[in-house]
Protein backbone atom coordinates (compact mmCIF):
# COMPACT_ATOMS: atom_id res chain seq x y z
CA UNK A 1 0.00 0.00 0.00
CA UNK A 2 2.72 2.40 0.98
CA UNK A 3 4.49 1.97 -2.36
CA UNK A 4 1.62 3.50 -4.27
CA UNK A 5 1.87 6.73 -2.34
CA UNK A 6 5.64 6.94 -2.70
CA UNK A 7 5.59 6.52 -6.45
CA UNK A 8 3.17 9.33 -7.28
CA UNK A 9 5.06 12.18 -8.85
CA UNK A 10 4.57 15.93 -8.81
CA UNK A 11 3.12 18.17 -6.17
CA UNK A 12 -0.01 16.22 -5.43
CA UNK A 13 -1.38 16.53 -1.91
CA UNK A 14 -1.44 12.96 -0.66
CA UNK A 15 -4.97 13.16 0.72
CA UNK A 16 -6.74 9.90 1.47
CA UNK A 17 -9.59 10.62 -0.92
CA UNK A 18 -7.45 11.29 -3.95
CA UNK A 19 -5.39 8.18 -3.37
CA UNK A 20 -8.47 5.98 -3.10
CA UNK A 21 -9.87 7.50 -6.25
CA UNK A 22 -6.64 6.98 -8.14
CA UNK A 23 -6.48 3.37 -7.04
CA UNK A 24 -10.05 2.68 -8.08
CA UNK A 25 -9.43 4.32 -11.44
CA UNK A 26 -6.31 2.22 -11.94
CA UNK A 27 -8.20 -0.99 -11.20
CA UNK A 28 -10.97 -0.07 -13.65
CA UNK A 29 -8.38 0.89 -16.24
CA UNK A 30 -6.61 -2.43 -15.78
CA UNK A 31 -9.76 -4.44 -16.32
CA UNK A 32 -10.74 -2.34 -19.33
CA UNK A 33 -7.33 -2.99 -20.85
CA UNK A 34 -7.65 -6.70 -20.12
CA UNK A 35 -11.05 -6.99 -21.79
CA UNK A 36 -9.99 -4.64 -24.59
CA UNK A 37 -6.98 -6.78 -25.54
CA UNK A 38 -9.11 -9.90 -25.29
CA UNK A 39 -11.84 -8.45 -27.54
CA UNK A 40 -9.23 -7.22 -30.02
CA UNK A 41 -7.56 -10.64 -30.13
CA UNK A 42 -10.92 -12.30 -30.62
CA UNK A 43 -12.18 -10.01 -33.40
CA UNK A 44 -8.98 -9.15 -35.25
CA UNK A 45 -6.18 -11.60 -34.48
CA UNK A 46 -8.19 -14.79 -34.36
CA UNK A 47 -11.80 -15.24 -35.28
CA UNK A 48 -14.65 -15.30 -32.73
CA UNK A 49 -15.17 -19.02 -33.21
CA UNK A 50 -11.67 -19.91 -32.13
CA UNK A 51 -11.42 -17.27 -29.40
CA UNK A 52 -14.83 -15.95 -28.35
CA UNK A 53 -14.85 -12.40 -27.06
CA UNK A 54 -15.59 -11.33 -23.48
CA UNK A 55 -19.27 -10.66 -24.20
CA UNK A 56 -19.87 -14.13 -25.63
CA UNK A 57 -18.14 -15.67 -22.64
CA UNK A 58 -20.13 -13.50 -20.22
CA UNK A 59 -23.27 -14.66 -22.00
CA UNK A 60 -22.27 -18.30 -21.59
CA UNK A 61 -21.45 -17.69 -17.92
CA UNK A 62 -24.91 -16.17 -17.50
CA UNK A 63 -26.50 -19.27 -19.00
CA UNK A 64 -24.50 -21.54 -16.71
CA UNK A 65 -25.42 -19.49 -13.64
CA UNK A 66 -29.06 -19.32 -14.75
CA UNK A 67 -29.31 -23.07 -15.18
CA UNK A 68 -28.15 -23.64 -11.60
CA UNK A 69 -25.24 -25.82 -12.79
CA UNK A 70 -22.81 -23.56 -10.96
CA UNK A 71 -24.16 -24.45 -7.57
CA UNK A 72 -24.20 -28.23 -8.05
CA UNK A 73 -20.77 -28.48 -9.59
CA UNK A 74 -19.02 -25.92 -7.41
CA UNK A 75 -20.42 -27.35 -4.21
CA UNK A 76 -19.29 -30.78 -5.36
CA UNK A 77 -15.75 -29.53 -6.05
CA UNK A 78 -15.63 -27.43 -2.91
CA UNK A 79 -16.68 -30.40 -0.79
CA UNK A 80 -13.88 -32.54 -2.19
CA UNK A 81 -11.33 -29.76 -1.76
CA UNK A 82 -12.31 -29.11 1.84
CA UNK A 83 -12.01 -32.79 2.72
CA UNK A 84 -8.69 -33.14 0.91
CA UNK A 85 -7.33 -29.99 2.42
CA UNK A 86 -8.46 -31.02 5.90
CA UNK A 87 -6.64 -34.29 5.39
CA UNK A 88 -3.53 -32.42 4.25
CA UNK A 89 -3.56 -30.29 7.41
CA UNK A 90 -4.12 -33.36 9.60
CA UNK A 91 -1.10 -35.11 8.08
CA UNK A 92 1.05 -32.10 7.24
CA UNK A 93 1.02 -30.34 10.62
CA UNK A 94 2.27 -33.35 12.63
CA UNK A 95 4.93 -34.10 10.00
CA UNK A 96 6.03 -30.47 10.01
CA UNK A 97 6.06 -30.55 13.79
CA UNK A 98 8.30 -33.60 13.87
CA UNK A 99 10.55 -32.08 11.20
CA UNK A 100 10.85 -28.84 13.10
CA UNK A 101 11.60 -30.42 16.47
CA UNK A 102 13.66 -33.55 15.83
CA UNK A 103 16.76 -33.91 13.76
CA UNK A 104 16.07 -37.55 12.97
CA UNK A 105 12.62 -36.86 11.55
CA UNK A 106 13.89 -33.90 9.61
CA UNK A 107 16.32 -36.16 7.78
CA UNK A 108 13.65 -38.85 7.46
CA UNK A 109 10.96 -36.65 5.92
CA UNK A 110 13.15 -34.22 3.99
CA UNK A 111 13.45 -36.13 0.72
CA UNK A 112 9.87 -37.43 0.52
CA UNK A 113 8.42 -33.98 1.23
CA UNK A 114 10.65 -32.24 -1.32
CA UNK A 115 9.93 -34.84 -3.98
CA UNK A 116 6.20 -34.78 -3.24
CA UNK A 117 6.29 -30.99 -3.60
CA UNK A 118 7.71 -31.09 -7.11
CA UNK A 119 5.65 -33.95 -8.54
CA UNK A 120 3.55 -32.66 -11.45
CA UNK A 121 -0.16 -32.53 -10.73
CA UNK A 122 -0.96 -34.78 -13.69
CA UNK A 123 0.69 -37.66 -11.80
CA UNK A 124 -1.71 -37.42 -8.91
CA UNK A 125 -4.68 -36.93 -11.22
CA UNK A 126 -4.05 -40.02 -13.33
CA UNK A 127 -2.90 -42.22 -10.46
CA UNK A 128 -6.04 -41.29 -8.54
CA UNK A 129 -8.08 -42.29 -11.58
CA UNK A 130 -6.21 -45.58 -11.97
CA UNK A 131 -6.56 -46.53 -8.32
CA UNK A 132 -10.00 -45.21 -7.41
CA UNK A 133 -11.85 -44.87 -10.70
CA UNK A 134 -14.20 -41.91 -10.98
CA UNK A 135 -15.26 -41.89 -7.33
CA UNK A 136 -14.85 -39.20 -4.71
CA UNK A 137 -11.67 -40.59 -3.15
CA UNK A 138 -9.46 -39.71 -6.12
CA UNK A 139 -9.86 -35.92 -6.06
CA UNK A 140 -9.80 -35.84 -2.26
CA UNK A 141 -6.57 -37.79 -2.06
CA UNK A 142 -4.94 -35.84 -4.91
CA UNK A 143 -5.78 -32.57 -3.15
CA UNK A 144 -4.38 -33.86 0.12
CA UNK A 145 -1.15 -35.12 -1.45
CA UNK A 146 -0.41 -31.93 -3.37
CA UNK A 147 -0.99 -29.57 -0.45
CA UNK A 148 0.55 -31.64 2.34
CA UNK A 149 4.25 -30.94 1.59
CA UNK A 150 3.80 -27.17 1.62
CA UNK A 151 1.98 -27.24 4.93
CA UNK A 152 4.61 -29.52 6.46
CA UNK A 153 7.50 -27.39 5.18
CA UNK A 154 5.97 -24.19 6.48
CA UNK A 155 5.15 -25.62 9.90
CA UNK A 156 8.70 -26.88 10.29
CA UNK A 157 10.12 -23.55 9.11
CA UNK A 158 7.89 -21.80 11.64
CA UNK A 159 9.10 -24.03 14.47
CA UNK A 160 12.73 -23.52 13.52
CA UNK A 161 12.16 -19.78 13.54
CA UNK A 162 10.94 -19.69 17.12
CA UNK A 163 12.84 -17.27 19.28
CA UNK A 164 15.02 -19.55 21.38
CA UNK A 165 15.40 -16.96 24.13
CA UNK A 166 11.62 -16.89 24.61
CA UNK A 167 11.68 -20.64 25.17
CA UNK A 168 14.58 -20.38 27.60
CA UNK A 169 12.84 -17.61 29.47
CA UNK A 170 9.60 -19.58 29.72
CA UNK A 171 11.57 -22.46 31.12
CA UNK A 172 13.43 -20.24 33.57
CA UNK A 173 10.16 -18.81 34.85
CA UNK A 174 8.66 -22.31 34.91
CA UNK A 175 5.70 -21.58 32.72
CA UNK A 176 3.42 -24.58 32.32
CA UNK A 177 3.62 -26.43 29.01
CA UNK A 178 0.12 -25.29 28.09
CA UNK A 179 1.08 -21.62 28.40
CA UNK A 180 4.25 -22.09 26.37
CA UNK A 181 2.28 -23.73 23.58
CA UNK A 182 -0.43 -21.10 23.66
CA UNK A 183 1.66 -17.97 23.95
CA UNK A 184 4.96 -18.86 22.29
CA UNK A 185 4.56 -21.82 19.94
CA UNK A 186 1.23 -21.09 18.29
CA UNK A 187 1.79 -17.37 17.65
CA UNK A 188 5.17 -18.04 16.05
CA UNK A 189 4.00 -20.83 13.76
CA UNK A 190 0.66 -19.29 12.77
CA UNK A 191 2.00 -16.87 10.10
CA UNK A 192 3.97 -19.66 8.47
CA UNK A 193 0.98 -21.96 8.53
CA UNK A 194 -1.06 -19.26 6.84
CA UNK A 195 1.58 -18.70 4.17
CA UNK A 196 1.58 -22.44 3.54
CA UNK A 197 -2.19 -22.59 3.49
CA UNK A 198 -2.44 -19.76 0.98
CA UNK A 199 0.10 -21.28 -1.35
CA UNK A 200 -1.19 -24.81 -1.14
CA UNK A 201 -4.84 -23.84 -1.36
CA UNK A 202 -4.27 -22.36 -4.81
CA UNK A 203 -2.48 -25.55 -5.81
CA UNK A 204 -5.18 -27.70 -4.27
CA UNK A 205 -7.87 -26.00 -6.34
CA UNK A 206 -5.99 -26.57 -9.53
CA UNK A 207 -5.18 -30.20 -8.87
CA UNK A 208 -8.72 -30.91 -7.78
CA UNK A 209 -10.05 -29.49 -11.04
CA UNK A 210 -7.40 -31.43 -12.93
CA UNK A 211 -8.36 -34.69 -11.26
CA UNK A 212 -11.96 -34.04 -12.21
CA UNK A 213 -10.93 -33.43 -15.82
CA UNK A 214 -9.35 -36.87 -15.88
CA UNK A 215 -12.02 -38.78 -14.06
CA UNK A 216 -15.17 -37.60 -12.41
CA UNK A 217 -18.88 -37.47 -12.96
CA UNK A 218 -19.46 -34.13 -11.28
CA UNK A 219 -17.62 -30.95 -10.43
CA UNK A 220 -16.11 -28.02 -12.28
CA UNK A 221 -13.25 -29.98 -13.86
CA UNK A 222 -15.73 -32.47 -15.23
CA UNK A 223 -17.71 -29.66 -16.88
CA UNK A 224 -14.53 -28.23 -18.42
CA UNK A 225 -13.73 -31.66 -19.79
CA UNK A 226 -17.22 -31.98 -21.23
CA UNK A 227 -17.02 -28.57 -22.92
CA UNK A 228 -13.65 -29.57 -24.37
CA UNK A 229 -15.05 -32.78 -25.78
CA UNK A 230 -17.88 -30.82 -27.40
CA UNK A 231 -15.24 -28.48 -28.94
CA UNK A 232 -16.94 -25.55 -27.25
CA UNK A 233 -14.29 -22.92 -26.56
CA UNK A 234 -16.97 -20.59 -25.18
CA UNK A 235 -17.95 -23.03 -22.48
CA UNK A 236 -14.35 -23.87 -21.57
CA UNK A 237 -13.70 -20.14 -21.13
CA UNK A 238 -16.95 -19.58 -19.24
CA UNK A 239 -16.17 -22.35 -16.73
CA UNK A 240 -12.60 -21.10 -16.45
CA UNK A 241 -13.92 -17.62 -15.72
CA UNK A 242 -16.20 -18.90 -13.01
CA UNK A 243 -13.36 -20.98 -11.61
CA UNK A 244 -11.02 -17.99 -11.49
CA UNK A 245 -13.63 -15.71 -9.90
CA UNK A 246 -14.41 -18.30 -7.26
CA UNK A 247 -10.76 -18.94 -6.53
CA UNK A 248 -9.90 -15.26 -6.19
CA UNK A 249 -12.87 -14.66 -3.89
CA UNK A 250 -11.83 -17.54 -1.65
CA UNK A 251 -8.26 -16.35 -1.59
CA UNK A 252 -9.36 -12.88 -0.59
CA UNK A 253 -11.32 -14.47 2.24
CA UNK A 254 -8.20 -16.23 3.48
CA UNK A 255 -6.15 -13.04 3.26
CA UNK A 256 -8.81 -11.16 5.18
CA UNK A 257 -8.89 -13.82 7.89
CA UNK A 258 -5.10 -13.62 8.08
CA UNK A 259 -5.14 -9.83 8.45
CA UNK A 260 -7.78 -10.10 11.12
CA UNK A 261 -5.84 -12.70 13.09
CA UNK A 262 -2.52 -10.89 12.84
CA UNK A 263 -3.73 -7.34 13.25
CA UNK A 264 -1.63 -7.05 16.42
CA UNK A 265 1.51 -7.57 14.36
CA UNK A 266 3.36 -4.49 13.15
CA UNK A 267 4.51 -6.24 9.99
CA UNK A 268 3.47 -9.33 8.11
CA UNK A 269 6.09 -12.07 8.08
CA UNK A 270 4.52 -14.25 5.43
CA UNK A 271 6.35 -14.46 2.13
Amino acid sequence: MANVAVEGRGLRVPGLGSRRWRQAAAVVLGWLAFFGVWAFASQVLFDPNRLPGPLDVADAMGTIIGSGDVLTHFSSSLGKISLGFGLAVLIGVPIGFLMGRTRYWKAFFHDPVIVAGSIPGITYAVLALVIFGIGLEGPILATALISMPYIALNVSAGLEGIDASLMTMSRAFRRPRKDVIRHVLVPSIAPFVFAGVRLSFALAWKVEALTEVFGSSKGIGFMIRRSYQLFSVVDVLAWTGLFVIFMLLLERLVVRAERHLFRWRPQETSA
Partner: protein, 278 residues
Protein backbone atom coordinates in the same frame (compact mmCIF):
# COMPACT_ATOMS: atom_id res chain seq x y z
CA UNK B 1 18.05 -37.80 18.64
CA UNK B 2 15.20 -38.80 20.86
CA UNK B 3 14.24 -42.21 22.15
CA UNK B 4 10.98 -41.90 20.26
CA UNK B 5 12.91 -42.18 17.04
CA UNK B 6 14.53 -45.43 18.09
CA UNK B 7 11.29 -47.33 18.57
CA UNK B 8 10.00 -46.78 15.06
CA UNK B 9 13.35 -47.61 13.61
CA UNK B 10 12.97 -51.26 14.60
CA UNK B 11 11.03 -51.80 11.41
CA UNK B 12 14.13 -51.49 9.32
CA UNK B 13 16.61 -52.80 11.85
CA UNK B 14 17.47 -56.46 11.54
CA UNK B 15 17.57 -56.99 15.29
CA UNK B 16 14.52 -57.13 17.62
CA UNK B 17 14.04 -54.89 20.59
CA UNK B 18 14.92 -57.39 23.34
CA UNK B 19 18.30 -58.24 21.88
CA UNK B 20 21.02 -55.76 22.82
CA UNK B 21 21.94 -53.89 19.65
CA UNK B 22 25.55 -53.13 18.87
CA UNK B 23 26.08 -49.49 19.55
CA UNK B 24 27.55 -48.77 16.13
CA UNK B 25 24.51 -50.08 14.23
CA UNK B 26 22.18 -47.95 16.33
CA UNK B 27 24.30 -44.88 15.72
CA UNK B 28 24.37 -45.53 11.99
CA UNK B 29 20.61 -45.93 11.90
CA UNK B 30 20.03 -42.77 13.87
CA UNK B 31 22.36 -40.70 11.75
CA UNK B 32 21.00 -38.44 9.01
CA UNK B 33 22.03 -40.85 6.30
CA UNK B 34 20.41 -43.71 8.21
CA UNK B 35 17.21 -41.73 8.49
CA UNK B 36 17.16 -41.03 4.77
CA UNK B 37 17.78 -44.64 3.86
CA UNK B 38 15.07 -45.71 6.30
CA UNK B 39 12.64 -43.33 4.65
CA UNK B 40 13.33 -44.79 1.20
CA UNK B 41 12.88 -48.31 2.55
CA UNK B 42 9.58 -47.31 4.15
CA UNK B 43 8.49 -45.74 0.86
CA UNK B 44 9.28 -48.89 -1.13
CA UNK B 45 7.51 -51.04 1.43
CA UNK B 46 4.48 -48.76 1.27
CA UNK B 47 4.46 -49.02 -2.53
CA UNK B 48 4.67 -52.82 -2.31
CA UNK B 49 1.77 -52.90 0.14
CA UNK B 50 -0.28 -50.58 -2.08
CA UNK B 51 0.30 -52.80 -5.08
CA UNK B 52 -0.76 -55.82 -3.05
CA UNK B 53 -3.96 -54.03 -2.00
CA UNK B 54 -4.96 -52.76 -5.45
CA UNK B 55 -4.29 -55.11 -8.38
CA UNK B 56 -4.21 -52.18 -10.81
CA UNK B 57 -1.15 -50.73 -9.08
CA UNK B 58 2.09 -52.36 -10.27
CA UNK B 59 4.82 -53.13 -7.74
CA UNK B 60 8.28 -51.55 -7.79
CA UNK B 61 10.01 -54.58 -9.31
CA UNK B 62 7.67 -54.78 -12.30
CA UNK B 63 8.12 -51.06 -12.87
CA UNK B 64 11.91 -51.34 -12.82
CA UNK B 65 11.74 -54.20 -15.33
CA UNK B 66 9.47 -52.13 -17.54
CA UNK B 67 11.88 -49.19 -17.29
CA UNK B 68 14.78 -51.38 -18.42
CA UNK B 69 12.64 -52.50 -21.37
CA UNK B 70 11.79 -48.95 -22.34
CA UNK B 71 15.41 -47.86 -22.19
CA UNK B 72 16.40 -50.84 -24.36
CA UNK B 73 13.71 -49.99 -26.91
CA UNK B 74 15.30 -46.53 -27.16
CA UNK B 75 12.02 -44.65 -26.75
CA UNK B 76 13.13 -42.82 -23.63
CA UNK B 77 15.70 -40.52 -25.20
CA UNK B 78 13.60 -39.82 -28.29
CA UNK B 79 10.57 -38.75 -26.32
CA UNK B 80 12.55 -36.83 -23.74
CA UNK B 81 14.39 -34.84 -26.39
CA UNK B 82 11.08 -33.89 -28.06
CA UNK B 83 9.52 -32.84 -24.75
CA UNK B 84 12.62 -31.08 -23.46
CA UNK B 85 12.78 -29.08 -26.67
CA UNK B 86 9.21 -27.87 -26.23
CA UNK B 87 9.61 -27.34 -22.50
CA UNK B 88 12.73 -25.20 -22.74
CA UNK B 89 11.40 -23.16 -25.65
CA UNK B 90 8.30 -22.31 -23.64
CA UNK B 91 10.37 -21.67 -20.56
CA UNK B 92 12.71 -19.21 -22.27
CA UNK B 93 9.68 -17.38 -23.58
CA UNK B 94 8.15 -17.30 -20.09
CA UNK B 95 11.40 -16.08 -18.57
CA UNK B 96 11.78 -13.21 -21.01
CA UNK B 97 8.11 -12.22 -20.96
CA UNK B 98 7.91 -12.59 -17.18
CA UNK B 99 11.03 -10.51 -16.64
CA UNK B 100 9.82 -7.71 -18.92
CA UNK B 101 6.31 -7.70 -17.48
CA UNK B 102 7.56 -7.93 -13.91
CA UNK B 103 10.01 -5.08 -14.32
CA UNK B 104 7.35 -2.94 -16.01
CA UNK B 105 4.78 -3.62 -13.31
CA UNK B 106 7.29 -3.03 -10.56
CA UNK B 107 8.79 0.17 -11.89
CA UNK B 108 6.01 1.95 -13.75
CA UNK B 109 2.74 2.80 -11.96
CA UNK B 110 0.69 2.88 -15.15
CA UNK B 111 1.84 -0.61 -16.13
CA UNK B 112 0.97 -1.77 -12.64
CA UNK B 113 -2.51 -0.34 -13.00
CA UNK B 114 -2.98 -2.01 -16.37
CA UNK B 115 -1.45 -5.41 -15.72
CA UNK B 116 -1.63 -6.27 -12.04
CA UNK B 117 -5.08 -7.84 -12.07
CA UNK B 118 -4.36 -9.61 -15.33
CA UNK B 119 -1.39 -11.27 -13.64
CA UNK B 120 -3.56 -12.31 -10.70
CA UNK B 121 -5.99 -13.92 -13.11
CA UNK B 122 -3.06 -15.55 -14.91
CA UNK B 123 -1.84 -17.05 -11.65
CA UNK B 124 -5.27 -18.50 -10.99
CA UNK B 125 -5.69 -20.22 -14.36
CA UNK B 126 -4.64 -23.86 -14.13
CA UNK B 127 -2.28 -25.40 -16.71
CA UNK B 128 -4.99 -27.82 -17.81
CA UNK B 129 -7.06 -24.93 -19.17
CA UNK B 130 -4.17 -23.77 -21.35
CA UNK B 131 -3.51 -27.34 -22.44
CA UNK B 132 -7.13 -27.80 -23.53
CA UNK B 133 -7.50 -24.36 -25.10
CA UNK B 134 -4.27 -24.60 -27.09
CA UNK B 135 -5.33 -28.07 -28.20
CA UNK B 136 -8.60 -26.61 -29.49
CA UNK B 137 -6.79 -23.70 -31.13
CA UNK B 138 -3.78 -25.34 -32.74
CA UNK B 139 -4.60 -29.03 -32.87
CA UNK B 140 -1.84 -31.60 -32.64
CA UNK B 141 1.50 -29.86 -33.16
CA UNK B 142 4.39 -28.27 -31.31
CA UNK B 143 2.59 -24.95 -30.74
CA UNK B 144 0.18 -26.28 -28.13
CA UNK B 145 2.77 -27.60 -25.62
CA UNK B 146 5.14 -24.65 -26.06
CA UNK B 147 2.36 -22.14 -25.55
CA UNK B 148 1.01 -24.07 -22.57
CA UNK B 149 4.38 -23.89 -20.82
CA UNK B 150 4.81 -20.20 -21.66
CA UNK B 151 1.33 -19.18 -20.53
CA UNK B 152 1.48 -21.22 -17.34
CA UNK B 153 4.91 -20.07 -16.22
CA UNK B 154 4.90 -16.39 -17.26
CA UNK B 155 2.65 -15.01 -14.46
CA UNK B 156 4.73 -16.77 -11.79
CA UNK B 157 7.96 -15.26 -13.06
CA UNK B 158 6.34 -11.83 -13.51
CA UNK B 159 4.78 -11.69 -10.06
CA UNK B 160 8.02 -12.70 -8.38
CA UNK B 161 10.02 -10.16 -10.36
CA UNK B 162 7.53 -7.48 -9.34
CA UNK B 163 7.98 -8.44 -5.70
CA UNK B 164 11.72 -8.25 -6.18
CA UNK B 165 11.51 -4.77 -7.68
CA UNK B 166 9.40 -3.66 -4.77
CA UNK B 167 12.01 -5.01 -2.37
CA UNK B 168 14.61 -2.64 -3.82
CA UNK B 169 15.32 0.01 -1.18
CA UNK B 170 13.29 3.11 -2.03
CA UNK B 171 15.92 5.46 -0.67
CA UNK B 172 18.56 4.17 -3.05
CA UNK B 173 16.18 4.42 -5.97
CA UNK B 174 15.23 7.98 -5.12
CA UNK B 175 18.82 8.97 -4.56
CA UNK B 176 19.93 7.56 -7.91
CA UNK B 177 17.03 9.39 -9.54
CA UNK B 178 17.99 12.62 -7.80
CA UNK B 179 21.59 12.29 -8.96
CA UNK B 180 20.40 11.66 -12.50
CA UNK B 181 21.68 8.09 -12.93
CA UNK B 182 20.48 6.85 -16.33
CA UNK B 183 17.69 4.27 -16.37
CA UNK B 184 19.91 1.57 -17.90
CA UNK B 185 22.48 1.79 -15.14
CA UNK B 186 19.79 2.06 -12.50
CA UNK B 187 18.26 -1.22 -13.68
CA UNK B 188 21.60 -3.00 -14.07
CA UNK B 189 23.31 -1.95 -10.86
CA UNK B 190 20.45 -1.51 -8.44
CA UNK B 191 17.27 -3.26 -9.52
CA UNK B 192 18.65 -6.45 -11.10
CA UNK B 193 20.78 -7.58 -8.12
CA UNK B 194 17.76 -7.31 -5.86
CA UNK B 195 15.50 -8.97 -8.37
CA UNK B 196 17.71 -11.99 -9.09
CA UNK B 197 16.72 -14.06 -6.05
CA UNK B 198 13.06 -13.41 -6.75
CA UNK B 199 13.58 -14.42 -10.36
CA UNK B 200 14.89 -17.77 -9.18
CA UNK B 201 11.96 -18.36 -6.89
CA UNK B 202 9.57 -17.51 -9.71
CA UNK B 203 11.53 -19.60 -12.16
CA UNK B 204 11.46 -22.65 -9.92
CA UNK B 205 7.71 -22.39 -9.58
CA UNK B 206 7.44 -21.77 -13.30
CA UNK B 207 9.55 -24.83 -14.02
CA UNK B 208 7.56 -27.16 -11.79
CA UNK B 209 4.24 -25.88 -13.13
CA UNK B 210 5.47 -25.61 -16.71
CA UNK B 211 6.66 -29.21 -16.66
CA UNK B 212 3.21 -30.22 -15.53
CA UNK B 213 1.80 -28.09 -18.35
CA UNK B 214 3.91 -29.65 -21.08
CA UNK B 215 2.96 -33.13 -19.91
CA UNK B 216 -0.73 -32.25 -19.85
CA UNK B 217 -0.58 -30.69 -23.27
CA UNK B 218 1.17 -33.73 -24.70
CA UNK B 219 -1.33 -35.99 -23.01
CA UNK B 220 -4.20 -34.26 -24.75
CA UNK B 221 -2.72 -33.00 -28.00
CA UNK B 222 0.40 -34.76 -29.22
CA UNK B 223 1.59 -37.90 -30.91
CA UNK B 224 5.07 -37.84 -29.43
CA UNK B 225 6.79 -36.80 -26.24
CA UNK B 226 6.85 -37.93 -22.62
CA UNK B 227 3.24 -37.01 -21.86
CA UNK B 228 2.01 -38.79 -24.95
CA UNK B 229 4.02 -41.90 -24.11
CA UNK B 230 2.46 -42.02 -20.64
CA UNK B 231 -0.96 -41.67 -22.21
CA UNK B 232 -0.12 -44.38 -24.74
CA UNK B 233 0.40 -46.94 -21.96
CA UNK B 234 -2.58 -45.63 -20.05
CA UNK B 235 -4.86 -46.07 -23.07
CA UNK B 236 -3.42 -49.53 -23.63
CA UNK B 237 -4.49 -50.37 -20.06
CA UNK B 238 -0.84 -51.11 -19.25
CA UNK B 239 -0.42 -49.42 -15.88
CA UNK B 240 3.08 -50.79 -15.41
CA UNK B 241 4.12 -48.82 -18.48
CA UNK B 242 2.25 -45.79 -17.26
CA UNK B 243 3.88 -45.83 -13.81
CA UNK B 244 7.29 -46.39 -15.42
CA UNK B 245 6.83 -43.13 -17.33
CA UNK B 246 5.56 -41.39 -14.21
CA UNK B 247 8.81 -42.42 -12.51
CA UNK B 248 10.72 -41.00 -15.46
CA UNK B 249 9.04 -37.62 -15.55
CA UNK B 250 9.02 -37.18 -11.81
CA UNK B 251 12.67 -38.22 -11.78
CA UNK B 252 13.48 -35.66 -14.46
CA UNK B 253 11.98 -32.73 -12.58
CA UNK B 254 13.45 -33.77 -9.22
CA UNK B 255 16.93 -34.20 -10.66
CA UNK B 256 16.67 -30.95 -12.59
CA UNK B 257 15.51 -29.13 -9.48
CA UNK B 258 18.04 -30.64 -7.08
CA UNK B 259 21.12 -30.65 -9.29
CA UNK B 260 20.70 -27.38 -11.15
CA UNK B 261 18.23 -25.02 -9.54
CA UNK B 262 18.76 -25.54 -5.83
CA UNK B 263 22.56 -25.10 -5.93
CA UNK B 264 22.14 -21.86 -7.89
CA UNK B 265 19.41 -20.64 -5.60
CA UNK B 266 21.29 -21.54 -2.45
CA UNK B 267 24.23 -19.51 -3.71
CA UNK B 268 21.99 -16.53 -4.29
CA UNK B 269 20.11 -17.07 -1.04
CA UNK B 270 23.04 -17.91 1.22
CA UNK B 271 22.48 -14.80 3.32
CA UNK B 272 18.85 -15.64 3.89
CA UNK B 273 17.11 -18.01 6.28
CA UNK B 274 13.44 -17.84 5.42
CA UNK B 275 10.83 -20.19 4.10
CA UNK B 276 11.75 -19.29 0.55
CA UNK B 277 14.65 -21.68 0.88
CA UNK B 278 13.80 -25.33 0.66
Amino acid sequence: MSTRAATTLDRAAPARRGVPLPRRVLDALLSDVGARITSYVVFLLGWQILSALYDRVPGPIEVVEMLVDEFQRGVVWDNFSVTADRFFTGLVFALVAGLVLGLLIGMWPLARALLKDTMTVGLAIPAIIWALLTALWFGFNWKAPVLTVALTATPFVAVNVTQGVQAVPRDLLRMSKAFGVPVGRRVRLLVLPFVMDYVFTGLRFGIILGWNGVLLSEWFASTEGVGWQARYWYDANNFTGFVAWVVLFVGFIVIFDRLILVPIQNRVFRWRTTIARR
